[in-house]
């Protein structure tokens, strides 16, 4: 029953997004949309997915969009936008999809082919074969480890893509200028800086907890990486980008992103060299189950490193580009008047 309420709420938010003209409100609504779909996933017993959707869908994507609209302006001027051809196309595809749903198995029916063909083996045998309670992590890290490897490379590609588009050669800023920026920020964000100083260690601790708790409960490399990156982004927002750059220098972060992908690949290569197929953890150590545990632990660690460093790369490049634009504008209007 709860999921029907959540779905209708999602519908309301989606329609509101169409009507809204102010981009800030649209982005906030898309954050709410992410949170509502995360709570829908909890209602659907998909706890891992809910965790990721909340961290990524509601958290990071709203944050990145907010950074972008500080550069590109908040208003969306709607000159003549062409509803009719779009409406026609949308109605056709929608009709085809509705036509497709007529023969689907009913919602939640236990005898649907989905639950009878491949899934029972995961549910019944994953404890003997891999030995960790969280079946989703065992599928993610062992049965379909190559999918997760592909996905890690997707995140790595996004990080490199953002670097290729936005990264610029940095002129080293003088030390005293950083202190000036730091003081002026201190005066402005006094309360929230104190609260952040209290909270930061707990956020990082929670990220590590999520990282290693992935085998037993909801959690894993992705969620941990995003939470870790959120902590550092919070630090960068409040203590100034230049101070954050000194704490976490960019070249090191790029190195971690690359080594994360390489670590993941080397786990596969080691099992290859030990005689098994690629990503066959049984060959990682003499006992099969211990090999599986070791393999999953290493893979989650690699995923955590790469996701955290890529998210940091993306945010630092966005904020850096914005800072450079602001400084250009300041120089510009200093010269012009």
């Amino acid at each position: 029953m709860i999921d029907i309420v959540l779905l209708t709420l999602l519908l309301v938010v989606a329609i509101a997004i169409i009507r809204m003209k102010d981009l800030f409100a649209v982005i906030m609504l898309s954050g709410i949309y992410g949170l509502l779909s995360a709570s829908f996933f909890v209602a659907m017993d998909a706890v891992d997915v809910a965790f990721t959707e909340a961290a990524v869908g509601a958290g990071i994507s709203t944050l990145l969009m907010l950074v972008v609209i500080t550069m590109t302006g908040r208003s969306e001027n709607t000159t003549r936008h062409k509803p009719f051809p779009a409406l026609l196309l949308v109605v056709i595809t929608g009709g085809l999809l509705i036509y497709g749903t007529l023969d689907m198995p009913y919602f939640g029916s236990a005898d649907a082919p989905v639950h009878s063909h491949v899934a029972p083996r995961y549910i019944n045998d994953s404890m003997q074969e891999i030995g960790i309670p969280n079946i989703v992590t065992s599928i993610l890290a062992s049965y379909r480890a190559f999918d997760t490897f592909g996905e890690l490379v997707v995140i790595f590609t996004a990080g490199v893509g953002v670097l290729a588009l936005l990264s610029i050669v940095r002129r080293p800023i003088k030390g005293d200028k950083i202190a000036a920026v730091n003081d002026s920020m201190h005066e402005q964000h006094l309360v929230i800086r104190i609260v952040t100083k209290i909270l930061l260690p707990f956020i990082l601790l929670f990220a590590l907890y999520v990282q290693f708790h992935g085998d037993f409960g909801p959690g894993g490399g992705f969620q941990a990486g995003v939470i870790f990156a959120a902590a550092i982004i919070l630090y960068a927002m409040l203590f100034g980008l230049s101070t954050a750059r000194i704490v976490i220098n960019q070249a090191f972060i790029q190195l971690i992103a690359a080594t994360g992908v390489l670590l993941y690949g080397c786990v596969g290569l080691v099992s290859l060299l030990n005689g098994g197929n690629f990503f066959d953890y049984n060959f990682l150590s003499n006992d099969a189950i211990a090999g599986q545990h070791l393999g999953i632990l290493l893979i989650e660690w690699a995923v955590g490193c790469t996701v955290a460093s890529v998210m940091i790369i993306i945010f630092f490049n966005f904020a850096d580009y914005r800072e450079r634009q602001l400084s250009n504008e300041n120089q510009h209007n200093q010269e012009s008047p």
């Binding site: 497709g100 379909r144 480890a145 592909g150 990264s167 992908v261 690629f278």
Partner: protein
């Protein structure tokens, strides 16, 4: 190590990409990626030999059996595509460093090579995998790296072209995701081999019909088939010329492979061509695509735009061959995949050389180029002739098989239309040749010298391949015929 070749084919470039990011010096990274691409080419040759001798290879990743784990199935069709992609990527890499010196600024060369290797990995991953969801993941890898590569173009319109390509590509990929989800819902499995066995029972349901429709539309978006081709001309015209050379010869071929794999291996011949009027639909779309693209190619004065539209027309030829749905028809399509890769790569590499010398590829830059850059211009002429389908060139072979497949079915009006379209190709090629050879060079590009050696080597290897494979068609025809027969299920 021989039994691990299928996975090494994808892992070698994949592991090379992060390693490249760690080296900072561009010269070193260029040589390293050239070496890696050569190694991938070698692996694909060994794979092709193995497949031709011992039939289908199956490689279970993680040691789990097929429908539970992910499985790599390499048959003649995959091996043929893997060979084409890795060969083209190796040849294009020869000219990469000299070309990007002028087109991409210094500190981004390493990032260029990382993205290049990642898009190579994505394409090899799509072609090699036997798991439906894995296709979506590797499709995203190759598309994301191609958006970033296109956006690195010097011209500011590259950004806008890349953005449009991103929106269209993501919609296409999500359509494929919806199709895979619907197929999974009705059969419960993701492995393509397993799907092909379990789909016939549920084939008559409306959900499987919708799944087929969504997957085909998603693939056609990636294919730039006629109504969905708007992203291709700008993306190819404003991207760095090396990127255009690589993608023109490989990206659409991977989408053609997906189309063939889905209609023949996953959904089965009977379902794809009888329950849905795919045959006449694709025949119509292919023909309209050929004519409209060729006509709009004539009116372009940016030569990259011109050859991008001619690529859309050539894809039209492949779709017409595919829609005949006979063994010779499919052989014609596979042949044209191979030949078109050779032709287009030669042309776009030659354009990269012109771009290197003249910094622009408008028609008026081509004035008198025949005398100033004789070798490059000669390469364009030879590749253009094989585009038209002159005898003794590669284009003639694929046109010959296409026409014989059409006449075999007795559709002689379509054959006449194909010949008419060849005349359109002559028109837009003549515009370039006439300007290049019979006009005096403009005063400001009088001091233009021949393209550097690192350009001429790949261009001329491709041009000679254009001619060699036109005469000795043993390799291309034999593999294409065997792949077509295995898809039709009548392996000899």
């Amino acid at each position: 190590m021989i039994s691990h070749l299928p996975v090494l084919q994808v892992i070698v470039p994949l592991m090379a990409a992060p390693i490249c990011l760690i080296f900072k010096r561009a010269q070193l990274v260029w040589l390293f990626s050239l070496l890696v691409s050569g190694l991938t080419f070698l692996i694909s040759i060994l794979l092709l030999q193995q497949v031709m001798t011992s039939g289908v290879l199956s490689y279970e990743l993680g040691g789990w059996q097929a429908p539970w784990g992910i499985e790599y199935r390499i048959d003649k069709l995959n091996a043929f595509l893997l060979l084409i992609i890795s060969a083209i990527s190796t040849i294009v890499l020869f000219a990469a460093q000299t070309s990007i010196e002028k087109e991409i600024d210094k500190n981004k060369h390493t990032l260029f090579y990382v993205l290049y290797l990642l898009s190579l990995t994505g394409m090899l991953g799509i072609v090699a995998t036997g798991d439906a969801f894995n296709v979506f993941v590797f499709l995203e890898i190759s598309s994301l790296s191609s958006y970033a590569l296109i956006a690195m173009g010097k011209n500011k319109r590259a950004l806008w072209a890349s953005y449009q390509y991103l929106i269209m590509g993501t919609i296409g990929a999500t359509f494929i995701l919806i199709g895979v989800g619907l197929m999974y819902q009705m059969t419960g499995t993701l492995n393509m081999q397993d799907l092909s066995q379990r789909l016939p029972e549920v084939a008559q349901t409306r959900t499987v019909f919708t799944a087929f429709a969504f997957v085909i539309v998603g693939v056609c978006l990636k294919l730039a088939l006629f109504p969905l081709h708007h992203w291709l001309p700008n993306a190819y015209a404003y991207a760095p010329s090396i990127v255009t050379a690589f993608f023109a010869a490989t990206a659409t071929k991977v989408a053609i492979y997906l189309l063939i794999r889905l209609t023949f291996s996953v959904f089965g011949l009977s379902f794809s061509f009888t329950t849905i009027p795919l045959q006449s639909l694709f025949m119509a779309l292919g023909l309209i695509g050929i004519f409209i693209a060729s006509i709009s190619a004539i009116y372009q004065n940016n030569i990259k735009h011109l050859f991008a539209y001619s690529s859309i027309a050539q894809i039209g030829y492949m779709i017409v061959g595919f829609s005949i749905s006979t063994v010779t028809g499919l052989t014609a399509t596979l042949l044209h995949v191979f030949n078109h890769a050779l032709m287009k790569c030669a042309i776009f590499l030659a354009l990269a050389a012109v771009m290197y010398r003249l910094d622009d590829v408008q028609l008026n830059n081509f004035h008198g180029l025949g005398r100033q850059m004789p070798l490059t211009m000669a390469a364009i002429v030879v590749a253009g002739l094989s585009l038209i389908g002159m005898p003794l060139t590669v284009g003639f072979v694929s046109k010959w098989y296409l026409l014989s497949a059409l006449l075999e079915q007795g559709w002689w009006p379509v054959a006449v239309l194909i010949l008419l379209a060849a005349i359109l190709t002559v028109v837009y090629l003549w515009r370039i040749i006439e300007v290049a050879y019979f006009k005096q060079p403009l005063v400001d590009n009088a001091a233009v010298k021949e393209a550097p050696i690192l350009f001429l080597v790949p261009i001329w290897t491709l041009t000679i391949a254009n001619i060699y494979f036109g005469i000795d068609t043993r390799l291309s025809v034999q593999v294409a015929q065997a792949a077509a027969q295995s898809l039709f299920g009548l392996t000899p």
